[in-house]
Symmetry: D2
Subunit: 363 residues, 4 copies
């Protein structure tokens, strides 16, 4: 449903890049869950731009909780988080008001909203809207941790540079969650940031792949049809701007394997069942098997580049040229990673509440 996602635990997002405020309503979370405003603030920091890789716009992005939290804990009723847009001084948008930026949603917005959309800074299509997901997701991430469930995402590859694979996932998750630029291998990270700096110099941009792991998640959650864990996660992941691919476990590589190497053999230890490998990414038949949930997302390069591009005028639908000015991110992959964690946490909280009841998360 449009701007609301989830069933037992649901999030609604709103706002435009240059409007008054953006935010989210997080509904259905159990009552009695601690809300840590410092943690929310630190997650918001991760979503913001970093050093040399940053945009000019530096919002405070202060999250204000205006409902659903009482005495520092969730009440069980909707939690509303708002973030004022401060850096929205009126300005002349010039040709961006009517020229469709290639790779952006300007043209499709026009076809859907017939010119009534707020075009300023991408309006409701702006990556800025993910701030509401990060703020609400932070509460979900904290709640999951209390139940022993941890999520972490690293930049698996960027501009041709590849990070190392997950090894000790628990340790790796802990490591990357403390980093601004989330890579497991420091050298790879260094090489990536150099490539990003190069792209900036060239007036170009890069994308990359993110890899996410979830540990501590119980088995037996998810549905065989339609609401598979893969399906519900992919549904929300594809609304994170720039995501163009989602794969679970070995994903597209798995498709090239033989069954004899693709199957995950079982073993048991102290009464618990595990698989020797995890090609399936912790999900079989749409249902979790207790192994780490692992997936990767493809992040396309930021479409705002400085080279002149062929485009059309949205008023006349005639051809024209566009040269984007101003300062833009040459990469958003390092910022997208906390958005991925956040939507993952929101989906998992929903799945757990559906499976074990609305109070389970607070028990």
């Amino acid at each position: 449903m449009k701007n609301t996602f989830g069933s037992s635990v649901a999030v609604t997002i709103f706002g435009e890049s240059h409007g008054n405020m953006i935010g989210a309503v997080l509904d259905g979370l159990a009552s009695g869950i601690d809300v840590d405003e410092n943690f929310i603030a630190s997650q918001m920091e991760l979503r913001k731009s970093v050093g040399a890789l940053s945009t000019a716009r530096r919002e405070a992005d202060e999250v204000k909780i205006v409902s659903g939290v009482f005495n520092g804990k969730t009440t069980g009723t909707p939690i509303t988080l708002i973030i004022e847009n401060k850096d929205t001084r009126s300005k002349d948008y010039g040709e961006l008001a009517y020229k469709a930026r290639p790779g952006h949603a300007d043209y499709t917005a026009q076809m859907k909203y017939h010119g009534f959309q707020d075009f300023r800074g991408g309006g409701h299509f702006s990556g800025r809207i993910t701030a509401g997901l990060v703020a609400s997701g932070a509460i979900a991430i904290k709640a999951l941790r209390k139940k022993g469930i941890y999520i972490g995402t690293h930049i698996l590859s960027c501009a041709g540079i590849r990070d190392r694979d997950f090894s000790d996932i628990a340790e790796d998750i802990n490591r990357i969650n403390n980093l601004d630029f989330a890579v497991l291998d420091e050298n790879s990270g260094q090489a990536m940031t150099e490539k990003i700096a190069d792209a900036r110099r060239d007036g170009d941009s890069v994308g990359g792949r993110l890899e996410t792991a979830v540990i501590g998640f119980p088995s037996g959650v998810g549905e065989p049809w339609f609401d598979t864990i893969e399906g519900v996660l992919a549904h929300i992941l594809f609304s994170v701007p720039a995501v163009k691919g989602v794969e679970f476990g070995d994903g597209f590589e798995l498709a090239e394997k033989y069954g004899s190497t693709a199957n995950d053999a079982y073993f048991s230890e102290n009464g618990n069942v595990y698989t020797k490998t995890n090609h399936s990414g912790g999900i079989l038949g749409g249902i979790t098997n207790g192994m780490p949930i692992v997936f990767r997302t493809a992040i396309k390069p930021t479409p705002s580049i400085y080279k002149e591009q062929d485009t059309i005028d949205l008023n006349t639908m005639q051809e024209t040229k566009l040269q984007i000015k101003g300062r833009h991110d040459p990469a958003i992959i390092h910022r997208a990673r906390v958005v991925i964690d956040s939507v993952t946490a929101l989906v998992l909280c929903d799945q757990l509440a559906l499976r074990y009841g609305t109070d389970w998360l607070a028990e």
Copy 2:
């Protein structure tokens, strides 16, 4: 929602591999749409196994429409399609009744349903359940064609062999929709079937990648958040058994590109707007842009193989060995392709009904 998917047009599926019958309820389709039972039957044929690649089980798979169609046309009320399971003679399932087949959902089903699941032939997890999707999807596919919207899927790669890319998509769609083994390049197809035959000989199995294109779909359909076209398609695609990855446009490859090569430049011709390339797969900001919708799905190799595998006993959760007997498909990718087309058609009918109203599809 579990076994129901869709909003304005929704499908509900039911049944188990060795139960009485399987089927689907297709609800919300406009009244007055032609229902072509021959076309349904021919789509069911595509879903069945083909020649040397086939399983022993050869059901007639006769689709009986028991509601929602009157005088050959949809009434607007639920269309129920049932398919009797004929080849379900009672037999001894032996160790398959309690040993988890690696790569299958036996273990996760046990964790979710606590031993009450129908284990015979995979029960509700069986690929056989897709027959209901194909039967209902056939009605949707036909309805879309009448509106000038065509869907086609080919086997992009299988066992290391790659098909050629789409070139003239309209022509290519037409070509593959008449093939049992849907490849654009005959030689590639020949090589793939040989590889599949090899895998069969080795008691092994293969997977592959499918590529789907949709043409004639209007622009301006989809949502910027949550119900992006990518998100809703991926949601249902991931419940097609064996799908472990979904990517739109250039997908994971796009993630490795620079913005300057990733953006699709616009041009206009006779008052219509097009993009020169289609790296985004016809979707920007979650909304269609009128270009072909293109996506790829990763199909993991069939998990039923003949080599001995390490597994666990579901009753004791202790380690054991499993050697699967009987005849099983060494590949299902050529059969999965019509399932992908079907669920795609169902999702697109829903999106169109939401956008243009419930009657549009019949107008």
Copy 3:
């Protein structure tokens, strides 16, 4: 959503009065719940017509479970129940094929489905479609009983005759659930059936009010907004044909009281909290308080009467006269009662699964 209702536990119904078969898919019920086919059959009997009050059509209404039940217990996957329409010999519908019966949905069906609807016997609008609700509801009713939750409905009034109020609700529920014509006071029942017989003689029909009570339902279930217990129950109750009003507790009478007499004072006994009165019908702020849930539904008189009526021709939309022939029920209130129980049980199972998790009902 059209023909599907519920969230964690959902029912989908299908079929037309004179089609091939009708039925229901019950999805999301916990695995391991006993399915008592005899009980289903006895509930189906209650839905059928009784003695002198009956219609000519006497279907066997044999319910066949074709999925979701294995070894007598729910598997956790969709339970499909089908009922063949046996008494549907082809006949000439004459003027009923194109004249709108006043009080029926013929005209509104025409406006919605443009003439493609199955008009025979009311098609998908027929009260016969409730058979699927009763069949699936029977499984829900039994499951609730195992958790100590009992539902019962009596005919509170019919044709000016009033039944006595509930007194010992547990005993009263038990009593009426064993009656074909569910009244608490035998004499009232006798008087009602006489009035119904009179109406039949006059070629007329009667309606009435049903009163339902639920005991043993836990407190703390429901939502303050939108998904109030009243709201979700009313939502499904209004789709039971002929229902035109729903009130909880003292309902419309409560509206005429003063606060000092309307409020239910609390008391506690052995650590449990109760209210001295139950004007609110067991629900406050949309949430159950542990007291009996009590509501009443208004059933309008059966619209099929034998007097000549002014109507319109659906083809020409011009005025015409209609005289309905054949045999029709002079009352359906005694048959509607089991439908009310059934949909109530379905809604309550859904609410409990949402609150306590998907497995709770089977624990």
Copy 4:
């Protein structure tokens, strides 16, 4: 779904009586609809208390639109309306912090939220939360008017005084929409306000019945099952605080009639079809027939009264006495009326968008 209601057009509400702010997110409304802030303000005035009937709390209730409106028109993306709670000075709630007020949701909130709920002023259960519904509903009401659809609600009865019935509905709707205290007959209104003043003097409270009519609504909208117009309207109506009954057309009275007087005969005039009477309230088989939609809601008396009441202590669950102090409304029925109009408008916009597509309302 909890605090979100609707499908194509959906509203999400949030906030607590004494929290920071309350509000609503209205999602899915077509782009290009005029947003009249003055009209929103005037609807908010209707929701506030009136003269001698008022509470002490007099909020400005200024609605601030923070997203989804650009240049005075809807953008098509979520419209967020916020209302700051100004009159929430910290104070000692005394025994109201732990004693359950009879007739209020204090006890059920405790059972659901385990003491974490915001108890101040009823928290999320407060009638104040309806302000978000009125603000968003005002946009819907205006949009409907532009399409020729008008909604009006009058106080049919209050404290034993009865207003006259609707006669010329169009004129009557126009009349009551300009009144603070919405009655068709001025004398009845005078008598009602006197009764309310009496109740106030006695430390007591009254309820009443509201009657709503909608004209200009097209035929053929709604569903035969589950999403009947009655069902979806009742669903949301029952979440309006104090509503305990909903009936359509003649409702409970219809249940007492004979078929021969209950059926609405058809006639045609200038090619249009009408019914001579409107006992069914404009809905047959769940679908509109083009006649006025008419329904009544039962509003229970405000539970806050000044007489001492028996209750329980929420901490100990032991019996205690409660004497509510401060100033409270002796009636809310005259304020509830605009809430009823608002939720009706929201539901109807959703139904129209589902039927005719997302853009219809702005065409």
